[in-house]
């Protein structure tokens, strides 16, 4: 849920990167962190296992600039992708303003993508949200890999509602900021519409 502070003149929003294990959610945040100027970002927190798999969440606070004298701050979270961390994923979706579904383009990961997307829908319903009504974008990550599935196939299976979608390679940064901008813009537009 967005938080508007008229005292400190800030608009705070929460974005969540969702997707199957090892799809590149944390890599998205690392790239954003690396390419953002120090005055626009806070400390990045990763609650990860010793093998660098996300255990609870990653967190990155980001300032995007000012609108009408109000600072816009986005809190970026990732969820742990591994199937058995479902309880944690539910918690992180609480108060979400926008969701990025990071799909792994590799053909072998199609089932994992479908399972994660179904899980996202169900967990949102649990928190009282409807994916079709929430600011939402799809990112097809790992497009650079030779075993990436054709875009038409990914689109048909993972984006039947035709949400805004982006091809990406999070390790090189291709598509990372396009994805972030699209969802952030959609969140602000939705906030205004909700008034």
């Amino acid at each position: 849920m967005s938080f508007i502070n008229y005292s400190s003149r800030e608009i705070n929003c929460k974005l969540v990167y969702y997707g199957p294990g090892l799809c590149g959610k944390t890599t998205n945040l690392h790239y954003i962190y690396a390419k953002t100027s120090p005055d626009a970002k806070g400390k990045m927190i990763s609650l990860a296992t010793e093998t660098e798999r996300t255990l609870f969440f990653d967190f990155l606070p980001l300032s995007l600039g000012e609108i009408r004298g109000f600072k816009t701050r986005f809190h970026l979270y990732t969820v742990p992708g591994q199937v058995f961390y479902d309880a944690s994923r539910k918690l992180i979706l609480k108060g979400v303003d926008g969701v990025i579904f990071v799909a792994d383009s590799q053909i072998e990961r199609m089932e994992a993508n479908i399972e994660s997307l179904d899980n996202l829908r169900l967990n949102l319903i649990d928190q009282g949200y409807d994916l079709n009504k929430l600011p939402y974008v799809v990112q097809y990550n790992k497009r650079d890999l030779p075993n990436a599935a054709p875009m038409e196939q990914l689109r048909e299976v993972l984006n039947p509602t035709k949400a805004p979608e982006f091809e990406a390679c999070a390790t090189s940064g291709a598509g990372v900021f396009d994805t972030l901008k699209a969802v952030a813009k959609s969140v602000l537009t939705e906030l205004r519409r909700g008034q």
Partner: protein
């Protein structure tokens, strides 16, 4: 219940005063008031060295995880938590189900004193949050969001 979705200067100031008084009365190092979704709302005491944004997010995550445990145990929310450190200790309390009051203290205070002072401050905070909720419901203050135009949003994302 989620955190508050709006905060007005009058209540913000009053909450900051409550935090400052709690810091003094509990002999605490610092006091933070955080929305249940992890947004910092008010603070007092020695916060210059603290990363308040990170602390707020992690505390909210901690409270959410503890809330998950309480659900599994078919218990209501755990109202308070205490983490004992070597030098600094943290007392965390839920305020009216929608905010989190965090007290950082050391050997100059005690858990008993903190608990006692937190109770009084929590009651005041609940009243202030009720006031914010009433104002927001009455829409007595114009919302910044209604003034935002498409070009404002576009300008934010111009490279």
């Amino acid at each position: 219940m989620s955190g508050p979705d709006v905060m007005y200067p009058e209540e913000q100031q009053a909450m900051s005063l409550v935090c400052a008084r709690l810091t003094r009365d509990a002999n605490a190092k610092a006091v933070l008031l955080i929305g249940r979704d992890g947004q910092p709302i008010a603070e007092a005491g020695d916060v210059d060295e603290l990363d308040v944004t990170s602390l707020s997010s992690l505390t909210a995550g901690n409270v959410a995880a503890t809330g998950g445990i309480s659900k599994i145990l078919r218990e209501k929310d755990f109202f308070s938590q205490f983490h004992e450190g070597e030098k600094t200790h943290i007392h965390i309390t839920l305020v009216g189900g929608r905010a989190i009051l965090v007290v950082l203290f050391d050997e100059r205070s005690s858990l008993g004193l903190v608990r006692l002072r937190v109770k009084k401050s929590s009651d005041e905070m609940v009243r202030l949050f009720d006031s914010v909720a009433k104002k927001a419901a009455a829409k007595s203050e114009p919302s910044i969001l209604t003034e935002i135009t498409d070009s404002d949003i576009d300008n934010l994302f111009n490279d």
